[in-house]
């Protein structure tokens, strides 16, 4: 039986970062979908940066930002007694930031296709903006939520470079499957690398099939819901 510690860390990381991502990405995507602010392209660019940056660049800056020598890292050490770098919390933060565009963009386009009108109708029927969002906009954008959650989860599972930079390769703490495969190959343990890689391949394939199925129903039903 092979050691499944890295699989456990990966799943824990993916579940936690997906949950937090949905909470963070929903208001951000909503704001981007309704704002008429001139700063909108700026915010969209910042949100999309992790898509184009090499993970090492993002990882390098996060390493600097989270290290105990930085103000933020120092506060964390002061409060919890632990360092953010080379810890699970550290790679969680890194994973959230790196996966943000994958959740914000499907949500934003789902909200945009719902449009303003249903919210206006809800308001005229006595719903406060938050109430209208929960009772009308969110149910109408439910496929967007599903797509965002699946993509965010899948992307967190496949994280490599950023986590290696911020978290290193500590078994049962920061060693995720992708890093495990890398070090298995480095140590010429091809059997282990094969098993883990095949698992990842199957997982990625299933996720994509699922996403395309959601999107297909989305278009086939002929309405943005």
């Amino acid at each position: 039986m092979i050691d499944l510690g890295s699989v456990q860390v990966t799943l824990k990381l993916a579940v936690a970062s997906t949950a937090i991502l949905m909470v963070v990405a929903t208001p951000l995507a909503w704001w981007l979908s309704i704002t008429r602010s001139r700063a909108k392209p700026l915010f969209e660019a910042v949100t999309a940066l992790p898509l184009v940056l090499p993970p090492t660049v993002l990882g390098f800056y996060l390493l600097i930002l989270l290290s105990p020598n930085s103000p933020m890292g120092a506060v964390w050490v002061h409060v919890t007694g632990e360092s953010l770098t080379f810890s699970f919390t550290g790679i969680l933060i890194a994973s959230i930031i790196h996966s943000l565009p994958f959740t914000v963009q499907p949500l934003q386009s789902a909200f945009e296709s719902v449009g303003r009108r249903p919210m206006e109708v809800a308001a005229s029927l006595g719903a406060s903006p938050f109430d209208a969002f929960v009772s009308v906009a969110a149910p109408l954008a439910k496929r967007g939520f599903l797509t965002a959650a699946v993509l965010g989860f899948a992307h967190s599972v496949g994280e490599f470079g950023v986590i290696l930079m911020v978290g290193g390769n500590i078994p049962n703490r920061t060693r995720v499957v992708s890093i495990d495969i890398y070090s298995s190959v480095e140590t010429l343990d091809y059997g282990r690398a094969h098993a883990l890689s095949l698992g990842m391949l199957a997982f990625a394939f299933l996720v994509l099939v699922f996403v395309f199925m959601i999107n297909r129903r989305y278009w086939a039903s002929g309405k943005p819901s």
Binding site: P118, A123, G126, A127, P129, A132
Partner: protein, 356 residues
């Protein structure tokens, strides 16, 4: 006369693309006020400003003395606190809810104790058979009835209707019109009704506010035909075209001119809307009177108006019952008797209704 407290006071300026809306008006909060005018005149935009959905207007809105908007002090009451329900041309029913879910949406959120009961609304609009249906499975007319019911159940203090019939074909319009009239009659609710149809103004309005290029227009002759008056409806068939927009119709042996909105082929059965005060009655032949219409009929009932100044004379004609409003005098009353054959002479052309 309504007191100042029963008014919606608007003092607004709004620039929106090519439109410059400038309205300073007091609207009485009773019956139906139609906002009438060509498309692009700013009618719908004004309605959205009143509802609070369009926020870029500058100026003041005061509802019964309560300020809703005052851009000088920065006051803005958000739409969900105004208790103003709006019915949209494209209904905007929520597709993720059933008919009952849509109706319940505003009902659950009404922030006033008063307002119509669930059963009053579903009965008035015949909604009970539709309750479990998906909104996708409704016809255009049914959708509009549900939208109307949903708004009423939100217990609004003011109901805004944005061209509720414009997206429907003539048959659907004819289907909805009786429901609209019932809503106006049964629920004591001030309504602002946006339309570009003279006929809808004639059938529904207590008063008319004409809007052209973002400004209220008064004394515009082209709108005289739109001013509200009591009317009667009879059946007729089109026999010819006098000039574009004016048809010659036959009612039994009688002939009547009628303004048309669309095109009706010769032989089409139509319903004519005739102003009650435009009729004169002639015992025997109306002879040489030059008029827009002459019909034969028999007096079937004679009633006095509540204030006693008018006589409502109901005439049976080949196209159904027609009521003529005559100013009451003892001389007229002596001349009139039930079952008298009379000729009805009508001074103004009728309007072809949506029907048949």
């Amino acid at each position: 006369m309504a007191s100042l407290a029963e008014q919606l006071k608007l003092d607004l300026v709004l620039r929106y693309q090519n439109l410059e809306l400038e309205v300073s008006e007091e609207i009485y909060l009773s019956g139906v006020t139609t906002l009438f005018g060509p498309s692009g005149a700013g009618k719908s935009t004004l309605l959205r400003v009143v509802a609070g959905i369009e926020r870029s207007a500058l100026g003041q809105i005061t509802y019964m003395g309560i300020p809703w908007l005052d851009s000088k002090t920065g006051l803005f009451v958000p739409p969900h606190k105004r208790a103003v329900a709006m019915v949209f041309q494209d209904t905007q029913l929520f597709p993720h809810l059933t008919v009952a879910g849509n109706l319940n949406y505003g009902y659950r959120r009404r922030n006033r104790r008063c307002g119509p009961e669930w059963s009053e609304v579903t009965e008035a609009l015949d909604l009970d058979p539709l309750l479990d249906r998906d909104v996708d499975a409704l016809s255009g007319g049914e959708r509009q009835r549900v939208a109307l019911g949903r708004s009423l159940l939100a217990a609004p203090r003011l109901l805004l209707l944005d061209e509720p019939l414009a997206a429907l074909d003539a048959a659907r319009k004819a289907e909805i019109m009786p429901y609209l009239k019932r809503v106006i009659a049964e629920f004591d609710l001030p309504i602002i009704y946006v339309t570009h149809s003279k006929l809808e103004v004639r059938l529904l309005a207590s008063r008319v506010l004409a809007l052209v290029n973002g400004k209220v227009v008064r004394g515009n002759e082209s709108l005289d035909g739109a001013r509200h008056s009591e009317h009667s409806c009879i059946r007729a068939s089109v026999v010819g075209l006098e000039c574009p927009g004016l048809a010659v119709c036959k009612v039994g042996e009688g002939v009547m001119l009628a303004e048309m909105q669309g095109k009706h082929a010769v032989g089409t059965e139509v319903e004519l809307v005739i102003e009650r005060s435009s009729m004169l009655l002639f015992a025997g032949e109306g002879g040489n009177a030059l008029a827009a219409g002459k019909l034969d009929g028999v007096v079937s009932s004679i009633d006095r108006s509540t204030d006693g100044t008018l006589l409502h004379v109901t005439m049976s004609t080949a196209g159904g019952e027609l009521v003529a409003n005559l100013h009451r005098s003892s001389w007229i009353e002596r001349q009139l008797a039930i079952n008298d054959a009379m000729q009805v002479v009508i001074s103004k052309p009728a309007v072809v209704s949506y029907s048949l």
